[in-house]
């Protein structure tokens, strides 16, 4: 377990290298608190998805539906907020007499939606014994379709702006935007849960050898149910952040979030075959592409060249990390 941490510490160094390179190249434009806060806020949703998906992948599963869960949760949260914060007339005039009720209930509804969606994924995987790929591919369509039906296919309008000012723009302690604070808390809890608790231990054990886990008496199905539910819940939380940041629920977006979240985990060293992975790795795996994109935009790299450059840097980063890892194993 120690070597695993050492491994993720190394990919951390690669990220640090990128940060230093861009800082030298771009100076204050890149190397500024503001910029880092922006990068972190922008990556916060993906970060939550990546954390959830990391647990799933360590059990040798996969969750393709996180983007759809995010969208469905944000639609339900937004619609609940709109419905409860005032009459139709009132909200269309941007007055929200009941928003003190509407916003918290909306948030709760969104989180609950994520939880339920994840639970459904878990049921499909454990009760119907579907391969996780198929189960979550199916629910990807079902959840997104449901979100489109509920919203009529358009972004949800008239969301009380208070959620933006209270959640997304609000800065804790005078500097820490709430999405980052949420991300920090989730990452902290996830690190503890994965590396220090029985929950994490079972997650690794199931991914390493599910039959062995069953034979030592672990209730594998129950644990998987929890893991998929967790992934759904975090996607729901990301949906709330999405509503708060953009003051609407974006039905058309987030199609590529599943691949992005899985990529973050894999870049961070999580094995798609299960049993291996870390939260720190996934955090770094989330930020490597985010930092690259930010740095390239600041540097003024053409978008098409960015695609090429990000692809190459990704390959190099993981290559270096892997070499380092196998060198460590040889020691």
């Amino acid at each position: 377990m120690l070597s695993r941490l050492a491994g993720s510490a190394f990919i951390f160094l690669i990220l640090a290298g990128l940060l230093i390179a861009f800082s030298i190249l771009e100076g204050r434009a890149f190397l500024s608190g503001d910029n880092f806060l922006n990068i972190a806020v922008d990556a916060s949703e993906l970060l939550l998805l990546a954390v959830g998906v990391t647990f799933v992948i360590i059990t040798a599963g996969i969750d393709l539906s996180v983007g759809s869960i995010l969208v469905l949760s944000s639609v339900i949260a937004a619609q609940t907020m709109v419905a409860l914060s005032g009459t139709d007339q009132q909200v269309q005039n941007f007055t929200y007499p009941n928003q003190a009720v509407g916003i918290p209930v909306g948030i709760a509804a969104g989180l609950l939606t994520g939880l339920v969606c994840g639970f459904i994924n878990g049921l499909l995987v454990t009760k119907l014994r579907l391969t996780p790929f198929i189960a979550t591919l199916g629910t990807l369509g079902v959840f997104l379709g449901t979100a489109q039906i509920l919203s009529g296919g358009t972004n949800v309008p008239y969301v009380p702006p208070a959620i933006q000012t209270h959640v997304s723009t609000r800065q804790l302690l005078g500097f820490l935007p709430v999405p980052i604070a949420i991300g920090l808390v989730v990452v902290g809890v996830a690190i503890l849960a994965l590396h220090r608790t029985q929950f994490g231990r079972y997650t690794y054990a199931i991914g390493s050898n599910a039959e062995a886990a069953r034979r030592v008496g672990i209730d594998v199905d129950r644990h998987l149910l929890k893991v998929y539910t967790l992934s759904g819940f975090l996607a729901g939380l990301a949906g709330i952040i999405d509503v708060a940041r953009f003051n609407t629920a974006s039905v058309g977006a987030h199609t590529l979030d599943n691949l992005a979240a899985i990529s973050a985990a894999v870049i961070g060293g999580t094995s798609l075959f299960g049993g291996i992975g870390s939260i720190v790795g996934s955090v770094v795996g989330t930020f490597i592409p985010a930092v690259l994109r930010n740095g390239f935009v600041i540097h003024g790299v053409q978008p098409f060249w960015q695609e090429v450059a990000i692809g190459i840097v990704l390959i190099l980063a993981v290559f270096i990390d892997q070499r380092r890892r196998s060198a460590e194993e040889r020691m």
Binding site: M1, L2, L192, A193, R196, T197, Q198, F199, R201, Y204, A205, G207, S208, N209, E211, A212, A213, R214, R215, V216, G217, I218, D219, G275, I276
Partner: protein, 256 residues
Amino acid sequence: MRGDEAVLQVRGINKSFGAVEALKDVDFEVRRGEVTALIGDNGAGKSTLINVITGVLEPDSGDIVFEGERVVFASPHDARERGIETVYQDLAVAPQLDAVANIFLGRERRKAGILGWLGFLDQQRMREETGEQLEELRVRIPDPTKPLSTFSGGQRQGVAVARAVMWASKVVIMDEPTAALGVAQVGMVLDLVRRVRETGIPVVFISHNMPQVFDVADRIVVLRLGEVVAELDPEEASTDDAVAAMTGSLRGGERE
């Protein structure tokens, strides 16, 4: 301590895999303070019987009676709860986890207080207890905090044996625990089996190695093509009798 008291009995067990009848109307019992050897040719059904007893497989028919009470083990969890521990033939270890984690898998020690309630592991304590246990069993492994995937086959087997003995309170079942072990390690395992018996806990011992079987067993049950064909007393019967019973060339002893 040894006695006729049956801790575990299975009666009339049948189990088929498609066309293969792996177990045919098998009766088998495990008695307090006794080492029962289960022997038989490859494919005789030994592992299948173990899997039925420990809840890994559901029998097609038949009963299991544990401490006088009819039980249904729906999963290995149930059997483990009752104090039945097993060294499976394929070891059932998680190769990516270290020895400490494997030994405590499903039985993790948690921290005291609120942290424990939250599921936090007491890694320190588990490491210590593992060290003690391995010491006591004289199982030598390179480093209990390295993943098992870096261990040799014999070393993994040592971990699996240590796990079973550590947790068993009622029955220990060992499916070919010595298959990959060196001479010295085999000696240690046989020693261990005897020590477990001393505490009154019965042991089911599966092996293809007749000297080992005759060395340690109080009673030998022979399976052939899914049927119990003989029960031998190692004091009376010879290795040849056992081989004859396994291969069917001769009836080595009448069924009880």
